[in-house]
Amino acid sequence: MAENQGVLVYLEHREGKLLPIALEGLGAGRRLADTLGQRLSCVAIGSNIAQLASQAIAAGADRVYLMDSPELADYQPDIYLALMGQLVAEARPQVIIMGHTDTGREIAPRLAFRFGTVAVTDCVELNIDNTSGRLLATKPVYGGNALAVFSTDTDPQVVTVRTKAMAPAVPNASRQGEVITPAYKVEPSVVRARIVRRVLAESAGVKLEDAAVVVAGGRGIGGAEGFKQLEDLARLLKGAIGASRPPCDSGWISDTAQVGLTGKIIAPELYIAVAISGSSQHMSGCSGARTIVAINKDREANIFRHARFGVVGDWKKVLPAFTAKVKELLAS
């Protein structure tokens, strides 16, 4: 049971660089490892990834496991899962942290079940219980209407963390750590669900995840036409376009524009929500914004509980005048 030791962070990376979620995982992991007085390890799987080790060590890792091989160049969940299983059986960490991303959502629960336990997914806070030394994982439930604190007696304690919820590690190039190539075996026979093609939906302009300003529309926009108007405003503010789920489901805008619990989690400086009611599931994706501005015809709409500034009115009348005035102010 509680004989496992240390914290293991799964590193997501692209083009030789750690992704922000990896730095967030390392930031949280370092804090937990320090509290436990134990080691922070991390693992990267891929091809040509040796340069990740120094980045991870600078970001707080005491030990980096590298599984670096040309046959691991492409993400295959069944292989990555099997490799994680091999490493966890060998390294026996108490805590495993993955991102609540495409990869973590898929792998963490299956990994946990393989070790006779379950994960706590989409955590927004991680702490160590002072007396028991067990991980306390806080996650939103009921679509964000409530928060739940979970713990387990079984090791490993597997969690996925929500993007942008954990303070990222601040790199310090003078930190020391060790790099280990663990013994592992890639068995092609474990692949029973094979990714044969990865399709990228092209998005013109600023990426939603990175945008400082996001202009988002909801069901009340009523059609693809309306989103053109939102795009005008987004362009003016050098921002990106977002949406609640109904516009995506209705095909008014790309599925990749969905903000929320089951869409993207973003934290822009400014989030302008137009004709969005502010369901808890939607707010899960944007409540990290510094300033939320809402335009909605219903004064009682939940979005106004989160917004800093609001206008009660029909967006068809409010928005064009707003956009025109913004344009004028930005020009002056």
Binding site: A146, A201, F309, V312, D314
Partner: protein
């Protein structure tokens, strides 16, 4: 093709957040004034199954686990066009986590015996955990594809489009397999009048723990791996400044001025 869909009854996730309450005595949540519903992502999974049935013929069996299951709620998949309904209904199943729930569902699936495809929603609207599908796959040693937005049956396999944050992956998987379904699959159909009538007449099978050969100590709250230590509602201060105007247009312009003054733009 034999398809099994796992779907549960939940408090209505679409009810306004202001109606959400936690009963401190039981640590349970409720939506005041809103009736329970079938879990939305489970409903998408039912829809995915029915589309495969429409395309090539299939028998669709639905399993729902819980206690105090309202028949008019859990029969909705039947009314939509599913063929059979099995209820794992007993107090012993109550209060489970993804672990004990997946264990019971896997046992029920084994008992059904014939299956090519098992579908679950990508995550339930109450727990938001997204683990039961993965767990069922691991327990039954089946392949698993999550977050599907399209399914197409091939010869002994299935081509699945899996939603990613940047687009989608095309995944090929052999059968039997477990697939979890996302909303991008498209709106679930409405039950037809004929479907509703047929569902009314249909009696679900009810399987107790003994029918599954599982000891109650492994089920529901007794079989949990994660303990719920605390459940609480976050508080929002609600300090919205409403910007007014003589007309909606003027309010819009005033909003821009306000944001400029506040250095937001």
């Amino acid at each position: 093709m034999n398809i099994i869909v796992c779907v549960k009854q939940v408090i209505d996730p679409e009810a306004p957040p202001s109606s959400f309450r936690i009963d401190p005595a039981t640590n349970r949540a409720e939506m005041r004034g809103a009736n329970p519903v079938i879990d939305p992502y489970g409903e998408y999974a039912v829809e995915a199954a029915l589309r495969l049935k429409d395309a090539g013929g299939a028998k669709v069996t639905v399993i729902s686990l819980g206690s105090n299951l309202l028949r008019e709620v859990v029969k909705k998949p039947l009314a939509m066009g599913a063929d059979e309904l099995i209820l794992l209904e007993d107090a012993a199943y109550d209060g489970g986590d993804s672990y004990s729930t997946a264990l019971a569902l896997a046992a029920a699936i084994k008992k059904i015996g014939q299956y090519d495809l098992i579908l679950c929603g990508r995550e339930a609207s109450d727990t938001n955990a997204g683990q039961v599908g993965a767990g069922v796959a691991e327990i039954l040693s089946l392949p698993c594809v999550t977050l599907a937005k399209r399914l197409e049956a091939g010869a002994g396999n299935l081509v699945v489009e899996r939603v990613t944050s940047a687009g989608y992956d095309v995944v090929e998987v052999g059968l039997p397999a477990v697939i979890t379904i996302s909303n991008e699959i498209g709106e679930p159909r409405y039950p037809t009048v004929k479907g509703i009538m047929a569902a009314k007449k249909k009696e679900p099978l009810v399987w107790k723990p003994t029918d599954l050969g599982l000891d109650a100590s492994r089920l529901g709250s007794a079989g949990r791996k994660v303990k719920l230590l605390r459940l609480y509602q976050p508080v929002y201060e609600g300090r919205c400044e409403f910007v007014e105007g003589q007309t909606p247009e003027e309010a819009g312009a005033n909003l821009a001025i306000k944001l400029r003054e506040a250095k937001v733009i």
